[in-house]
Symmetry: C2
Subunit: 353 residues, 2 copies
């Protein structure tokens, strides 16, 4: 390929799309043509990318002509229908939805952890993990490579924006109702104040935490909990790894956090774990307990890496570590990881054919 590859961004007008346009502007030399696509409803809008206005077109077969890589930042139904069409037209489809993540013949890729997997894509589709998995995997993948992972127990502190823009609007509306009041100290008073304005959540999120994210699946587990388990196993190529997750939504706008308990094959020390994390791509170690340094979502939001702090060795098991990780669910958690996958494909196309 002598020309630079052509990229289509499907879902350019959404929240993840906005972050993708920033990233594309920062990495301006990777792509030749960049085509912005959306639902017919949003077509015709003009968005800035690489310093130029670019008109959004409606997603259609002919809109994919000549495209080398098509990144889908779109709902699952859109990806289910259109990613195979893009692949059939010769593009590599990079999908951020849940549509293909657990399909055996679709690689699920975190470029810092399993970059080799991107090259084996029999259906022409590469999947990007869920945002919660993406906050976790750069750190846990690095520790696995060093110490050999045996078990994970994870509790999440997930931000509202992981559930979409309406979710953020609902959280902000709820916060306006409870701010300046004495609510939150009496039984049910927050629920009464918020009324039906729950957004996509099953309970109020302001002055509350909601221990359910996603849809109900078998045996009381939520789709987010089982997805985190299945995706972690697939990315690490550890199909029998015990993974237990409890997924909880918290009143944070953007950036997911996870409290992680990890058991390894071999003994670990905090010092060795620090060395591994400090030198791993996509990870920032921010862990000086004496200085009060640990990551929080309000400090991490807007940044690319997974931030890791509170690294502690179990007093009961010298092969177990606890840590706290934060990752921006709209950057690495959606747009950035798919941009990284797309760039890996672009590099391969440039060198290979």
């Amino acid at each position: 390929m002598t020309r630079k590859p052509a990229l289509a961004v499907v879902g350019a007008t959404g929240a993840a799309g906005a972050v993708m346009l920033q990233i594309l502007s920062q990495h301006a030399d990777v792509w030749g043509e960049i085509r912005l696509l959306s639902s017919p409803r949003s077509a015709g809008r003009k968005l800035a990318v690489r310093g130029e206005e670019c008109e959004v077109s409606a997603l259609a077969e002919e809109a994919l002509d000549g495209i080398d890589v098509a990144v889908f930042l779109a709902p699952r139904e859109v990806a289910e229908r259109w990613a195979p069409i893009a692949a059939a037209k010769g593009a590599v489809a990079v999908d951020t939805s849940a549509a293909f993540r657990l399909e055996a013949d679709v690689p699920l890729v975190v470029p810092e952890v399993n970059p080799h997997s991107v090259r084996v894509r029999p259906r022409g589709i590469v999947a990007s993990p869920h945002d919660t998995t993406l906050a976790l995997l750069p750190a846990v993948g690095a520790l696995h490579a060093a110490f050999g992972l045996r078990e994970l127990v994870v509790s999440t502190y997930q931000a509202a924006s992981g559930a979409g823009r309406d979710a953020v609007s609902a959280l902000r509306a709820q916060l306006s109702l409870v701010a300046g009041t004495e609510l939150g100290a009496g039984p049910g008073d927050v629920r009464r104040a918020v009324g039906d304005d729950l957004g996509p959540f099953p309970a109020p999120l302001a002055l509350n935490v909601v221990p359910f994210a996603g849809a109900l699946q078998e045996d009381g587990w939520s789709s987010e909990e089982l997805g985190l388990r299945a995706e972690t196993r697939k990315i690490l190529d550890l199909p029998g790894l015990p993974v237990t997750a409890t997924c909880v939504r918290v009143p944070v706008v953007t950036t997911h956090s996870l409290a992680v308990h990890a058991r390894f094959e071999n003994e670990v020390t905090v010092e060795r774990a620090h060395e591994v994390l400090a030198t791993s791509p996509g990870v920032v170690l921010y862990d000086s307990p004496e200085a009060g340094d640990f990551p929080t979502p309000a400090d991490v939001v807007g940044t690319d890496p997974t931030w890791v702090g509170r690294v502690r060795r179990s007093p009961d098991d010298p092969a177990a570590l606890s840590l706290f990780v934060c990752g921006d669910n709209l950057r690495k958690g959606a747009a950035l990881n798919s941009a990284q996958i797309a760039e890996a494909v672009a590099a391969e196309l440039g060198s290979g054919r």
Copy 2:
């Protein structure tokens, strides 16, 4: 004892004291005299208990004359000094601070879990656990009795009021600053808006979570994390139990939540766990995933029990359960548990001597 026992409430004017006065009014027939004590600064205030105004006196040796049970809802330093004095004067001291919890010759009591322990008090002092332990133990104690606990991994979602009234004021002030804004989506914008108004927290709490509670202790662990471990071991009389906790503060006013992963000696089922929890004192089972029923702090606040939902069996280990528990840190977490201990002592005094 033919007369009803006399109770002193030390720290009657604080947040937990206010809840204690409600509880004493509800259980009006237990006590004879009720004496309200405080620091000299708050002495002279009049508070309502059992429908009558009661003047608060300054804590002093003579203020403990004739007292049978003295409940300390006061800072650690006050309890360290005054609980032994109360005991020397013939009272049983019930302390809610951390001063004596881990002393070998002071029982640490959750009346639903280890009621027998209250009778063995060589120093005349009985300790009440930390609020986070108290949200956890009624549920975990019941499951231990049924299935035999082997390991606990816990992540907390702790409310601001666990850090005191100033903490709640700081959270409310921060919420007023961020409500109605677009803050929380850009790097550091919440921290800049909040400025130095952090209250007792090491980072902003509004639109954030703070993965550090308590003081730094050895090897990066916090006092709250090591305390939860040590207290759980002592109450359950399992000195070697592996317990790993990550303690995180969330922007909730009152009611602590915990995501719990528990491994048992024997196989468990969700059905058997439901039976155990539904019939355990101090526990409400609220767990109908199909109906969207699970506990949240905003719904639990103001109630006495530990609420349990999201009970799931590990897909990887038939002897492991995950669950989510919520408990009001000002009721069971402070005033109620010490009131229950005091009443157990009162019953013993009434029957025994």
